[in-house]
Symmetry: C2
Subunit: 336 residues, 2 copies
């Protein structure tokens, strides 16, 4: 079976492709034998079964070239749509966010609809669909998990665009155009590499940089609770979401992926336990109102009873997340 | 002040235009002095202050003609966007629904964004944004009002497209592109005239036709609770939504308009009280699975504490709704 992954050159996309080809998922009982990555850059996974289609899925010329439609072959079973303009960037450039996060999602859904098979369509959404007003009429404590029925009231264009994508994937699924699965990702920590334009980028920086002996800046208050997941857990959950039979998900295809609730302070406590007090001292607090307005609008926890019952998983605790990051980094160094 | 009303040739649009010109609303302290109706047909309101722009707001040629943009004049203060493809029609013709309910909403929002003034943007949404799974994790009784925080999980393309419009209007408001107000309309009963392609069209037919001595068919079960409002109450609430200062609405601009919860049986009891048993006997039950699937997915009641506190109003009871309909019809006959 062939799978298409948009954003396949990115950190999450590349890891997802590795796992898919490692035999971690099958679709309708068939193994995944090849993957096409669609991204601005080629997929970094070195594997003969990976083909890279480079281009901008939001560019009308690229869409009209028909290359996306051609990538949807007879043996295609699923499309994993991870490509996105992240939160701070979508806030800074409204048009870019609308084009990539909304229009390109529609283009892909229409391409899938034209395919003779009902394709699985995995859409990466985000806890950014929520906003601070989400508990109107319910108990209003940021530290309490948000019930599954609570609706998106985003406070960022990124969140609004993701919430729109969720509705589209659900309606395309209901009509039988695709077999959709929407995963709302927690904030992913610890991301390797460099900071990106996500408002939550600091959550990785304040761990990653001190572990390398570098300074890091925290733009939010130490007491802010965050809803976190390791890259490992998120990728395992995306693979699980793709492999599940559609019937198991029921009529409404949007799932809050499991995470753990950790305050910034608790993150730094774990950093100190794993790497010592000097590492912690490398983190400096410099409030940034713009970032705080976005990140503090996200819930610190979600009710994930249903996803857990469906076999999705959460990390044990934040110390385990740091240890997993150190292990992964060590493996990558050995690979180099 | 000038106001644009899309769907101005429709039943609700025409009544809204009448009320706006009757001095029922002012914008930033200024009276409404002229209205432009944009619809496929000319606005039926005979008033020198009403101009009709006829065209299809979802037609690329009409959009590119620049007429919509030209209608947004120096004195424009608000756009009321009522034009829509209704529920059964959007279910039967997916492309048409997407084009009118989603793309045209975006076109209008962009046109407003280009205006030097921050225009009020009134968007008519619907209780159809809700679905049967909406109470997951909350108490699951269709007869209980749905809390305000519960999110859209539509079971129709109409509902999905309206929910997407809600998110767009909120994000455009948050960014300061427009000063938005989203009103989720209850099922409107009794509509005059002929049945339309809304799945809820029967709710008017089973009252209107018997009052004229005609047979009517009810496609849903007698015990189904509906969330209803009279045209008078809905139009008064739309005027109120337009006149309110944006600050009063807070950050989240979506409001459930008040309604009353009435079962089909209770509607027919009221019909019998107002017009006698022979009128009731004209209603025949013929279940229709397609209509039932859509209508029974809508909640029978919503929590409207906040809108009531903001001055929005509900009808007293269903008998009052029938009497108001009879009064309005009599007035129209006198006008003819």
């Amino acid at each position: 079976m062939h799978v298409i992954v948009t954003g396949g050159a990115g950190f999450l996309g590349a890891r997802l492709i590795q796992q898919l080809l490692a035999g971690e998922a099958s679709i309708e009982g068939q193994a995944i034998t090849r993957v096409t990555s669609i991204d601005l850059a080629p997929c970094p996974v070195t594997d003969g079964r990976v083909e890279s289609l480079t281009g901008d899925i939001a560019d009308p010329d690229f869409i009209e070239s028909g290359l996306i439609q051609q990538a949807l072959a007879d043996d295609t079973g699923a499309v994993c749509h991870l490509a996105a303009v992240v939160s701070s960037q979508a806030e800074a450039d409204f048009e870019l966010g609308m084009r990539v996060n909304l229009d390109a999602t529609r283009t892909l859904l229409e391409a899938c609809r034209a395919h003779p098979r009902r394709l699985r369509f995995l859409f990466a959404s985000s806890l950014a669909v929520f906003g601070p007003g989400l508990s109107q009429g319910l108990s209003q404590k940021r530290s309490q998990p948000v019930p599954e029925a609570v609706g998106p009231q985003p406070r960022s264009s990124y969140g609004a665009q993701k919430a729109i994508g969720e509705l589209l994937v659900n309606d395309y699924s209901r009509r039988g155009f695709v077999d959709g699965r929407v995963c709302r990702l927690p904030t992913i920590v610890v991301r390797p590499g460099k900071p990106n334009q996500a408002a939550s980028s600091f959550a990785s920086s304040i761990i990653r940089e001190p572990l390398s002996g570098l300074e890091a800046i925290c733009p939010v208050a130490a007491g802010l609770p965050l809803w976190l997941s390791s890259p490992r857990a998120v990728v395992a959950n995306l693979v699980h979401a793709l492999a599940l039979e559609g019937e198991a998900l029921g009529d409404w295809r949007t799932l809050n992926l499991p995470g753990i609730t950790v305050t910034v302070n608790e993150m730094l406590d774990a950093l100190e336990r794993q790497a010592g007090a000097p590492a912690r001292d490398l983190v400096r607090f410099e409030p940034d109102a713009g970032i705080d307005a976005i990140v503090a609008s996200w819930p610190g926890g979600l009710d994930v009873e249903r996803p857990l019952a469906l076999g999705f998983q959460a990390d044990a605790d934040f110390d385990a997340i740091i240890r997993a990051y150190l292990e992964d980094e060590r493996e990558e160094e050995l690979d180099d």
